[in-house]
């Protein structure tokens, strides 16, 4: 059997849309098979987010961390670093912002907020820099190092939130509540939705500009595509990789920080339903395009929240989304033929 020959652009689109469409169709058939009211199930899944302003605000809040992590993944993958450490950077950014926010409770109005957000970004950047440095200097496989660092980060935040930062009056492992003076405000005309969404939306074109309209970005992508070639034409590839990893960590850390400052207002150990992994999915589905990530993050938030409404109204469990996500991620990078692994 000979492989079909498609123009590269079209082939790229097909390789991505194929699995996504197949999974959606498969999901539809599955819902049809198990549900008494499949139409209501699908209606809830796709549209319940727009039934009320409150629902829409929750949708916006869900999109925000996904978009941040997606952009973070794009930055590192474009530099050729397979960074799966988003979850760890997110957790450390969140806990750093919590600690800083608690410490700056009496700072003048915007300063405490800025300090807390900056603390999250800086800690995330450091946590991204470590695997970058290990890869560049020693060639330590970044998949392994970021995976291991995720577990270290989550155990560290678990310690911090159950010991020094724990609010003993609250139930469960949660930190003290942040003072409202350091909260990130809501979007003015959309009660309940965090301003973090606007920051994430603004960040996407910035990432695109940095990657595609600056020499720095061109060098970074060259370093990612072919480090030896990049070095040969005089690009300091190692340096670009390190910068990309620090920046990627900073964006993921900021995601955690803004989640705490704008949505949670305190640190909870299990605040992330796997934002790191879903963010990776978001970035890959967007073919590592920052603008595309806006769409894929929104789509994923829509489905994640929609599944909750679907579970309330119908007999379809929300874990359907987990099941379908598994299939999607599993087949997402399949190319129909064995080929060399991507960077």
């Amino acid at each position: 059997m000979r492989p079909l020959v498609l123009p590269p652009r079209l082939a790229a689109a097909v390789s991505l849309l194929g699995p996504a469409v197949a999974v959606l169709v498969g999901g539809f058939v599955l819902v049809l098979a198990i549900s008494d009211d499949p139409l209501l199930a699908y209606k809830d899944l796709l549209f319940a987010n727009f039934y009320s302003v409150a629902n829409f605000a929750l949708f916006v809040n869900r999109t925000t961390p996904l978009l941040f992590i997606g952009l973070s993944v794009i930055l590192s993958f474009r530099a050729g670093v397979f960074n799966v450490g988003g979850e760890g950077q997110l957790y450390l950014g969140a806990i750093a912002a919590t600690a800083a926010g608690l410490a700056c409770a009496r700072a003048p109005q915007p300063l405490g907020l800025i300090a807390a957000a900056a603390a999250g970004a800086v800690v995330g950047a450091i946590y991204g820099f470590i695997p970058g440095q290990l890869k560049v200097k020693l060639g330590v496989n970044e998949v392994v190092s970021t995976l291991m660092l995720n577990f270290v980060a989550m155990l560290l935040t678990q310690y911090l939130v159950t010991h020094p930062l724990r609010d003993p009056t609250a139930y469960g492992a949660v930190s003290f509540m942040l003072a409202p003076s350091v909260w990130l405000p809501e979007i003015p005309c959309l009660p309940g939705a965090t301003d973090g969404a606007l920051i994430a939306l603004a960040l996407a074109p910035l990432v695109w500009l940095a990657l595609y309209r600056t020499t720095w970005g061109a060098d970074l992508r060259a370093a990612g595509a072919n480090p030896r070639f990049a070095e040969a034409v005089g690009i300091d590839a190692d340096r670009r990789v390190l910068e990309a990893m620090a920046l990627s960590g900073a964006v993921a850390g900021l995601a955690g920080a803004l989640y705490v400052l704008g949505i949670g207002h305190r640190f909870e150990q299990n605040f992330s339903p796997g934002f790191g992994l879903i963010g990776l999915t978001v970035a890959l589905l967007a073919r590592l395009n920052p603008f595309g990530a806006i769409l894929t993050a929104a789509f994923y938030a829509l489905v994640l929240n929609g599944a909750a409404y679907m579970q309330i109204d119908t007999d379809v469990p929300r874990s359907l989304v987990g099941l379908l996500t598994g299939f999607l991620v599993l087949f997402m990078t399949a190319r129909g033929r064995a080929a060399a692994a991507p960077a």
Partner: protein
């Protein structure tokens, strides 16, 4: 007696980790970083309890567990090797699929997202009490251990023999060192890689079955809780060599037991539980550091990608 008792409970803790570590090892040697052990083990744990509940036979439960994890491995290998998907992304996808799929089945088939707790569950074959009393210490450590724990212990030398004393083991390591060269020498690389993924599935399946069937006799969502990744850490720490990897798995198992103890005393257990991941990272770093110092250009990069 005290030592035997301690070793006995340590073995119970260690055997799933040991099996997960071997499951990672066998694909590592074929130059594939397998992050899907967690998901395959979880599927097996679910299948073990589900099949054991309906059939009332521990042999059937174990068979079901192995069939489930091998099926997952087949899917994983088919997508990653057959369809050329990225190995890491597909592996992470398999974990999500295992998580979501088991939860979906719990909700859809058993109407209970909290878990699956059969009233009666068949016990595994165990070493009879007192059967090994003629052996000091070791006898006490092995008595009452399940058949799967014994299999885990036997799997270590078997893995060493397989990798270093059989043609297939040679082929597997050759593919891991340099796939193109191995293929040029007549090794069917794709088949060998698929076989190593399937072996990994069997070992993960034993790990999941041991976890669910040995003492607990129930299934909880995400009950593998990172054991697949501690196994990965052990394989990395042991440089994917059977005996050092087994040693690392045993030590990490002790850390886990120690962490549980500490938790009972309200002491922070998190730093003890962190140890496997930190140790694996340090071991990798030191190994790479020495390799970089020894030779400027290392021809084959370590770790799978």
């Amino acid at each position: 007696m005290e030592i035997a008792q301690f070793l006995n409970s340590a073995l119970v803790q260690t055997s799933p980790l040991l099996l997960c570590a071997l499951a990672t090892l066998v694909t590592s040697r074929a130059n594939m970083l397998n992050v899907a052990v967690e998901g395959m083990a979880l599927t097996a744990a679910f299948a073990a309890i589900a099949v054991g509940q309906t059939t009332g036979s521990s042999a059937m439960a174990l068979t079901g567990a192995l069939a489930a994890s091998t099926g997952m491995a087949l899917l994983f290998g088919g997508v990653a090797i057959g369809l050329g998907a990225d190995f890491i992304v597909a592996g992470l996808g398999l974990n999500i699929l295992a998580d979501g799929g088991t939860l979906f089945l719990l909700e859809e088939v058993y109407q209970d997202p909290g878990g699956l707790r059969p009233d009666h569950f068949p016990d595994l074959w165990r070493v009879p009490d007192g059967a090994l009393s003629f052996l000091p210490v070791i006898g006490g450590a092995l008595e009452r251990q399940s058949a799967i724990t014994l299999a885990a212990l036997v799997a270590v030398p078997v893995m060493a023999l397989f990798l270093y004393r059989t043609p297939l083991g040679y082929a597997l390591r050759a593919v891991g060192e340099d796939e193109a060269a191995a293929a040029a020498n007549g090794v069917r690389a794709a088949r060998v890689k698929m076989l190593s993924v399937l072996l990994s599935g069997v070992l993960s399946g034993l790990a999941g079955a041991q976890l669910a069937m040995d003492r607990l006799h129930f299934f909880l969502p995400a009950m593998t809780s990172g054991r697949g990744f501690i196994g990965l850490a052990a394989a990395l720490f042991g440089a994917a060599e059977p005996w050092p990897t087994a040693g690392a798995a045993f030590v990490f198992g002790l850390f886990g037991a120690l962490g549980d103890r500490l938790q009972a005393f309200q002491a922070p257990s998190e730093f003890v539980l962190m140890a496997p991941y930190v140790a694996a990272l340090l071991a990798l770093t030191v190994a790479r550091w020495r390799a970089v110092r020894r030779a400027r250009a290392a021809p084959v990069s370590e770790g799978g990608r």
